[in-house]
């Protein structure tokens, strides 16, 4: 299973004008791999996620699952798609029906999607699903409010797994959890991916978590991808000024490192998506802006193997980083 997204666009009409939430996003995720999508609020990462599972209808573009375009699938094809791509949401509490027990929630999915035949089979499968996410069968009788945040997210993951999907879109799956339970949910997701051969699109504002789980990472800003490449190059040696600022802005849990850091602080805020800047979308905040950036929009260029950057001046700004990136294959 390969997931290919080509020139995906989502424009929302509002009273104030057209919001270009996603404005031409392309990427490929190979079977069993994870693409991390990062960016600040309004960058379009969640809208992209919602289009992948067709909670939002794309304005244009293609979403190819093993070559089959499902971007505008309807009826039976759409229903089949929902069996292949599933989403896990940030807030498991909001995404679970408070009136249903865990067993009922999972059982309902199994029945509706015709994954089981009869009560006995359903019960067995519910228990299997709970076991897959590290919980015991006794949890089936509980209601969401009787569970901890980490347990609720496990149920959210089990519900997605119930339809036996090939792709899981994970939208900030650990951001709402207590710090001490995040690691265990991350480990669970990694294990499930490797054991079931799942393909992930992992969306987060937490670069540390994205770095931990992703094979490739795409950085989004105002609806576009500014840089995409291998996890290590993207997190440790990025070639786009925005990716570098983003990385530097994240405080690391090490006071000695923090004291030594020379951080170029990014001023200003993300511009309004109704009136995005001309030229490079990032030019209003870029510490290295030049005249050309204000008029000419940079396209994604492959500066190192499988490492694309949308900046006119990466070569000149970061020659050493680039030389190294060209040696190590993305």
């Amino acid at each position: 299973m390969t997931l290919v997204v080509e020139d995906l666009v989502k424009h929302f009409r509002t009273r104030d004008g057209i919001v270009r939430a996603v404005d031409g996003v392309s990427f490929t995720v190979e079977r069993g791999q994870t693409l991390g999508l990062v960016g600040e609020s309004g960058c379009g990462k969640s809208t992209t996620a919602r289009m992948l599972v067709r909670l939002d209808q794309p304005t244009s573009g293609r979403i190819l699952l093993d070559g089959e375009d499902v971007a505008f699938a309807r009826g039976a094809t759409l229903s089949k798609l929902r069996g292949r791509i599933q989403m896990v949401f940030q807030d498991p509490y909001a995404s679970l029906d408070p009136r249903l027990t865990v067993g009922q929630t999972l059982g309902e999915v199994l029945t509706v999607r015709r994954m089981v035949d009869g009560d006995a089979q359903r019960r067995t499968r519910v228990n299997e699903l709970l076991e897959m996410v590290g919980m015991t069968a006794s949890v089936a009788g509980r209601y969401p409010h009787q569970l901890s945040g980490g347990q609720r997210q496990r149920v959210g993951i089990a519900r997605a797994l119930a339809v036996e999907p090939e792709v899981m879109v994970l939208d900030e799956p650990v951001s709402a959890l207590d710090v001490s339970v995040r690691a265990e949910v991350m480990n669970l997701l990694t294990r499930l991916r490797d054991e079931l051969g799942l393909t992930y699109v992992f969306i987060s504002h937490d670069l540390g978590m994205v770095r931990h789980i992703s094979d490739r990472i795409a950085v989004m800003y105002l609806g576009r991808v500014l840089e995409i490449g291998g996890w290590r190059a993207l997190s440790d040696d990025p070639l786009h000024p925005y990716t570098r600022s983003l990385r530097d802005a994240v405080p690391v849990p090490d006071p000695e490192l923090e004291a030594q850091r020379q951080v170029v602080e990014l001023g200003g805020e993300v511009p309004d998506a109704i009136n995005p800047p001309a030229g490079c979308l990032f030019h209003t905040r870029c510490p290295y802006v030049e005249d050309r950036c204000r008029v000419e929009t940079p396209t994604l260029r492959e500066l190192a193997p499988r490492h694309q950057v949308a900046c006119h001046f990466s070569e000149r700004l970061f020659p050493d980083v680039l030389a190294e990136a060209q040696q190590v294959s993305g």
Binding site: E40, S41, S148, G149, G150, Q151, D178, V179, S180, V181, R182, A183, E184, M186, N187, T190, H205, L207, G208, M209, R211, H212, R232, D236, S245, L246, D248, A249, V250, P251, V252, P253, D254, P255, E256, L257, E258, V263, E265, L266, G267, E269, V270
Partner: protein, 329 residues
Amino acid sequence: MSDAVLEVRHLQTVVRSGGRDLPVVRDVSFDVRAGEAVALVGESGSGKTLTALSVMGLLPDAARMTGGTVRLGGHDVGALDERQRRRLRGPEIAMIYQDPMTSLNPLMRVGPQVVEGLEAHGVTGAEAKARAIEALGEVGLPRPERLARSYPHQLSGGQRQRVMIAMAVALRPKVLIADEPTTALDVTIQQQVLSLADEMRRSTGLALVWITHDLGVVARVAERVLVMYAGRVVESGESRALFREPQHPYTAGLLGSIPRVLGAERPELPQIGGAPPDIAALPTGCPFHPRCPQRVDQCQVDDPRLEPRGDDGANGWAACWVPRDRWVS
């Protein structure tokens, strides 16, 4: 410690729930000196916010302080009546919150809101207006005169947080308590707010109490740290030492569970297991023992006290029966 601008001793706070008093803050003590930044770190239910609200004298109706003292700029806050306490909030101590919309009036332009805070403390008329504009400028808001005429909804999240900081610091408090003020912000905006706080601390000697669950933020802002768990301080100390050699298994577990920021290796994340306890059903003994990899029999019965580690607390303080050099790996 006579030079402390804020001195908290043996603070106890309970919340009334289901006919019972639940111990949400238990025996919390700390000092903050002028120009110093102290972090209170903890997860949900750790008691960090209720500690702050107790210090501010702003506890919700269901909660009340049942013990301990809070000394602020020479005043024993517990001995004051509400009117006297209100006079301290602003010139002595101020607090900012995660969601600025909870403290900003959505129907009022932001300038008059800053002015209102000043007027409550006797700064009036043209002087109040000038001070308000000045405060909005000091927190890095562009064109403060114009911005003062905006309504909160016309501002971005980062700008609203800056307005809230302006309101808090307009009366030049000696202590600022910041309760997760950057949690809802994007990282580049968080960075701006953290730099602003740091600059105010350095230039005006403002004492900061920074409440957060983010250990990265702690490493960036704080010189000293208190780690809270189930209403108690389980470890405290100087940041560098605490991050390098945590003395409590909970702190060690938290630090260990964060993905590495450098290197080619991505090992499975060491996980703590379990979840923070429900305050209504605390375990016996040490509240962390059900999740603790270092627990011994004693931990299930006796709750350890916060005690100095190293010579005279050279390695900070920890509430754990098992010293670090006897931990199993």
